[in-house]
Structures are given as C-alpha cells and as structure tokens.
C-alpha cells in the first residue's frame, strides 16, 4: 500500500456540555485513504461520520471541537495547521460538498460568480480566465451550455443541477480529495443515481480520492473501493467493498445491508434495525451497538472490542459472523 493521502489517527470530537464536561461524539477513529482511492463511510445519523469529516476540513461549528488524535493530509497534521494554511488547503487540495444543494449555494449570487470566487481564491488568474475555468468545471459536471449557465442564479437550477454546480465548485481547482457528505440524500431517486455516476466519473478522469458519506450501504457500494462502517462514534468494520457486500462480519453491517432492498435481487423481507442509536453522553461502557445487537453476549456491554486487522479487513466485534 502506498503512503496514504489522508490518515486519521485516534480522532476524537467532543461537545462542551452545559455542566462544563465534554460529551464525545467521535471516540477514537482510525482511518486512512490512499491517493485516488474511493472510500464510503456508512452509518446512521449520529454515528460520527459527518463530524469526523468536518474535523478533517476544520469546519466544526462552535460547541464541537476536536479533543484528540491527528489528521495527517499528505503527512501534514491538519489539527495543528493555522487557519490561513487551512484556507489554502480547502477548495484547492481538499473540497467538500454537502447534503442540501438547495441551501448550500448562495441565493443572491450567480453560479458563475460563486465558482469564480473559488478559483480566484486559490489561483492568481484574471477575471476572464477564472470565468473560463468556471465554465470548464460546469461543463465537466455535465451542465449543458455551461458558459451561459454561469450567469444563472441558484433558483433557476433544479436540485440535481445545483448539486452538480456545487461539485463543479469543489473540483474547479483540481483537489486531490473530495469529501461528499450525503450528496444525494435531498434528491430524487433518479437524480441520485446520476450524481453517484458523476462522482465516479470525476474520480476516474481526475484521479480524485473520494470519501462518500452515506447511510445507504447499497448506494455507496456502487462507486467505492472500500467501505468503512461507523457506529456510536467508532469504526466498527472496514474492508473492500466486495468483501463487505458478500460477507459482512459485524452484526451491524449485516443489518445495515438488510435494510436496503437490492434492485434486481430476490425480494426478501425488509429488515429494520430495532431500537435507536445510543444518545450522546449515554454510551454503553462496551460495544455501542450491544443494546441493539441480536448476537450480543456476555462481554459485549461491558468492554469495547478492539478494532482488529484480519487480512484486508478491520473489525471491532466480540462475536463476528
């Protein structure tokens, strides 16, 4: 394995609680991604997947902050980097697109203006050159008559087109890593597939590394090389997509897979995972999934299993399948 592009080591993210204590929502995450690799991070809301990635961008909002660990991007610790350095990296080396394209674009400015601003924040180019680069980016994400659409406002775009425009902003400066945080959740099903295809295509053409955050294992599996499953602020399983698809070993992964009906496959009963994810600050001592786990045994609730490497996979479970 080559040197990783991004390597997260023991990352912790906490919220300052009203009583002065700290409630941890990300509790020691280890994760690495190679240049050009596509990784899916899967988990329910509250699993800590988005918070971890916001920590990578150093965009955590006020009460949340990293409380431990390192985030190495190309060998540089982002948690120790200054704000000016982060500003230079964001949009140029690492870019992130978010869940809701409706509200993620500035309603008062043209699409072109917003892309050009990103280009000019990172490259010393004239206004005209920036416009050409912006038009190229817009064309690359599959928007027709890109040159003309630069002068459109977000409200003149459909939801799918807005997400494309956001992706165009993200790739305009040719970053090495694109983090997509549930980029399709707010979109229609047919549009979802188009956006997933677009990201796969961009990755292939531009050599982008991609982190695709989703709660939908099925969707992620279509384009990623590797799947990381998170639960309760921890990584519980990590492995090549085929292996996870064929033989999930963590009971949570298995249930997650059963939650989504597979297209074209045999129509089996749809399974819902019983119970709710643990509340922040009320984490069990041991495995966070143990209260809901159908296979839970004696030590599960009391002691957290280590994330153990087995061949190409990593898994944290006392009783894997």
């Amino acid at each position: 394995m080559s040197t990783p592009l991004l390597s997260i080591e023991g990352l912790r993210v906490g919220f300052r609680a009203a009583d002065g204590g700290v409630i941890e929502a990300v509790r020691g995450v280890d994760l690495s991604i190679a240049p050009g690799e596509a990784v899916g991070i899967v988990g329910e809301s509250g699993s800590g997947k988005s918070l971890s990635m916001l920590a990578v961008m150093r965009l955590l909002g006020a009460p949340a902050r990293p409380t431990g660990g390192r985030i190495l991007f190309d060998g540089e610790d982002l948690l120790a980097a200054g704000e000016a350095r982060m500003r230079a990296l964001r949009g140029r080396d690492i870019a992130m697109v978010f869940q809701d394209p409706q509200s993620s674009l500035n309603p008062a400015l043209t699409i072109g203006r917003q892309i050009c601003d990103v280009v000019r924040a990172h490259r010393k180019v004239s206004a005209n050159e920036a416009r050409i680069i912006a038009a190229e980016a817009l064309a690359r994400v599959g928007i027709r008559e890109a040159g003309k659409r630069l002068d459109s406002y977000p409200h003149e775009f459909s939801g799918g087109m807005r997400q494309r425009a956001l992706i165009a902003m993200a790739i305009a400066c040719r970053p090495r890593l694109l983090i997509a945080d549930e980029p399709t959740t707010a979109l229609d099903v047919t549009v979802q597939a188009q956006i997933v295809d677009l990201i796969a295509e961009l990755r292939r053409d531009l050599g982008l590394a991609v982190i695709f955050i989703s709660h939908n294992l099925q969707l992620v599996s279509e384009i990623v090389d590797r799947v990381v499953v998170m639960y309760g602020g921890k990584v519980v399983e990590d492995g090549p997509v085929e292996a996870i698809e064929l033989s999930p070993r963590h009971p949570y992964t298995k249930l997650l897979k059963a939650c989504v009906p597979s297209l074209g496959g045999p129509v089996g009963p749809l399974v819902a995972i019983e119970g709710t994810p643990p509340r922040l600050g009320r984490m069990p001592e041991g495995c966070p999934f143990s209260p809901r786990c159908p296979r839970a045994i004696e030590p599960c609730a009391d002691e957290m299993p280590q994330l153990i490497r087995e061949a190409e996979r990593r898994i944290a479970c006392w009783r894997p399948q």
Binding site: R90, G91, A95, N106, A108, D117, A121, Y153, H155, M169
Partner: protein, 314 residues
C-alpha cells in the same frame, strides 16, 4: 418586474393621496375657520364670505383638496392666508438646512450602524459583541435632544471646539458648514446607529449560520469574502429599517433644530402652528410624509434588486 415596480409606485401614490386627504381634513378640523383666524373675531359675515370666496374656501371639501393637490404636484403649495407669503418659497428656503442635517446624520447612521453591527456579529459573545449590545441599549435610550444639550455644554461651552448653534450654508465654506451641522447630526444619528447596529448584527448572525456560508468556507474563500457572502443575504431587513429611519429622522430633526437654534423647517413648522398658518403646516407635513413614503418605496425597490428571485419574477 416592471409591472411589480409600477404596482408598488401606484400603491405608494394611492397611500399618499389618502394620507394627504386625512391631513387636509385634520388641518380644517382645528378650532376657528381660517377666515376667522385671519380677519379676527370682529369681522362681519360679509367679509368672511368674501375671504372664503377669494381663497376657494366656499368650495366643497373634496374639491378644495383636489385643487390643493393639483397645485402641489405642480410645485405650488399656495400662498399663506396669514402672511401672504408663498409656501413653496418658505419651504425651499428652510429645507436645505434640515436636509443637510438629516443627510449627514443618515450617513453617520449607515456607516457606524452597519459597521458596528458587522463587527459585533463576527464574534458572538466576544468583547466587542457585549460592548456593542451595552452601547446600543444606551443609544436607544438617550433622547437625541438631551444628547444635543449635553454636547453643547461640553463641546461648545467648555471646550469651545464648535459653535453652540446657528447655521452656515455650504456656500460659506465646507468647514463653517460642517461645524454647524456636526453636533446636530451626531445627536440625531446616535439612536439610529444603535437601531441599525442591532438589526445588522441580528440579521448577519442569522445568515452566517447559513449552509452557503459553510460551503464558502469549505471552498477556502477568505474570511472577508465569507462575510460578504453572508452580508448580501443579511441586507434586506437592514435596508428596510434604514429607509424607515431616514423617514423618521426628519421628525426628530425638528426637535434637534430647536435645541441648536437652527433655522430649518422646525422653525417654519412651529411658526405655522403658532400663527395657525394651515397652508404652510400642511405643506411641510405633506412634504415629510412624501419623503417617508418614498423612502420606504425606495427600500422595497432596492431589496427587489438585491434578490435575484424577485428580480426575475416578471
């Protein structure tokens, strides 16, 4: 778009028509008819009838209003029954004084109000935020005319930096002009600085939490640009409030002019009241109301220009 703008303009003019009618009715509801006021108590019925005929006061009420309004639109505010002087001329003589105080105060309010509001919004809970919240409560609570009195005492009487009152037109030179309008304008502006700072802060804090601001930061835009992204969306309520402020400032300027003994419209208005000179009073109040209505119309149009969704709606 054009139709919407035209609609708003028509409705503003309609409002002015009815508000003007109310004003016209009110000025005629005071004790004593104009003829009695001008001719005195011992005028006989014939003299009064003659006076009313000469000034069109024997016409039906609505006809009088229509005539007055038609003349006003031509810039003719009529001739005072009391002094015989041309009302428009009196207004034109006094208006520049009031206008320069209000415009200067408005500029101060915009620059400092919006500036302080932005700085306070950038660090919620920070020292500047708390300081500006405290200062804005003070600014909202200190009456402008009292502030004027205090300023005269300290700046003019004790320090002798500025004259305590009076007025020099711009034609007398920039500094002489500024030295007479500086204190009145500052007194007038303080309340509006506080009002606009509070609104800017509240509105900007809201938009800074927007998803598009997070996008801008995730793309590595500079902090100045990030603030600009939030600000373009925070402006509409500030623009509305600024327009209201501009309209209201003329009213408080009347009081301030009294404090600083400035020969602006307040002197004309108070003279009109004490001499029961209804045409002059009507003219001044109608002028202020027109400014108020059109300032708000202007804010509406600016906001339509700022918002691409409304601009596009044809």
């Amino acid at each position: 778009m054009l139709r919407l703008v035209a609609g708003r303009i028509v409705s503003s003019i309609g409002t002015l028509f009815f508000v003007g009618l109310a004003l016209f009715a009110l000025t005629r509801s005071g004790p004593g008819s104009p003829a009695r006021i001008v001719l005195g108590a011992d005028a006989n019925a014939e003299q009064i009838a003659q006076f009313e005929q000469a000034h069109g006061l024997d016409q039906p009420f609505l006809a009088q209003y229509a005539t007055w309004l038609r003349d006003v639109l031509r810039g003719d505010f009529g001739k005072s029954f009391v002094t015989g002087r041309d009302v428009a001329t009196e207004i034109v003589n006094a208006l520049p004084v009031t206008l320069s105080i209000v415009l200067f105060a408005f500029a101060i309010a915009l620059v400092f109000g919006i500036g302080i509001g932005i700085l306070a919004a950038l660090r919620p809970g920070g020292a500047f935020d708390r300081l500006s919240r405290f200062a804005s409560v003070l600014g909202l609570s200190i009456p402008a005319f009292w502030l004027g009195i205090v300023l005269i005492r300290f700046v003019a009487v004790d320090l002798r930096w500025l004259p305590p009152g009076g007025y020099q037109p711009l034609s007398a030179g920039l500094w002489p002009h500024l030295s007479t309008i500086l204190m009145p304008s500052v007194s007038l502006a303080v309340y509006y600085v506080a009002v606009l700072a509070r609104m800017t802060q509240a509105s900007l804090q809201e938009t800074l939490r927007g998803d598009y601001v997070r996008t801008a930061r995730a793309m590595g835009l500079s902090s100045g640009q990030v603030v600009f992204y939030a600000l373009v969306n925070a402006l509409p309520p500030v623009v509305n409030l600024a327009a209201l402020s501009f309209g209201y400032m003329f009213g408080w300027a009347l009081i301030i002019e009294q404090v600083f003994n400035v020969p602006g419209l307040s002197r004309a208005l108070l003279n009109a009241i004490s001499q029961r000179d209804f045409l002059l009073l009507q003219g001044i109040v109608f002028l202020f109301t027109t400014i108020f209505v059109f300032a708000n119309l202007g804010a509406d149009l600016i906001n339509r220009l700022l918002d691409p969704r409304q601009r596009a709606a044809a």
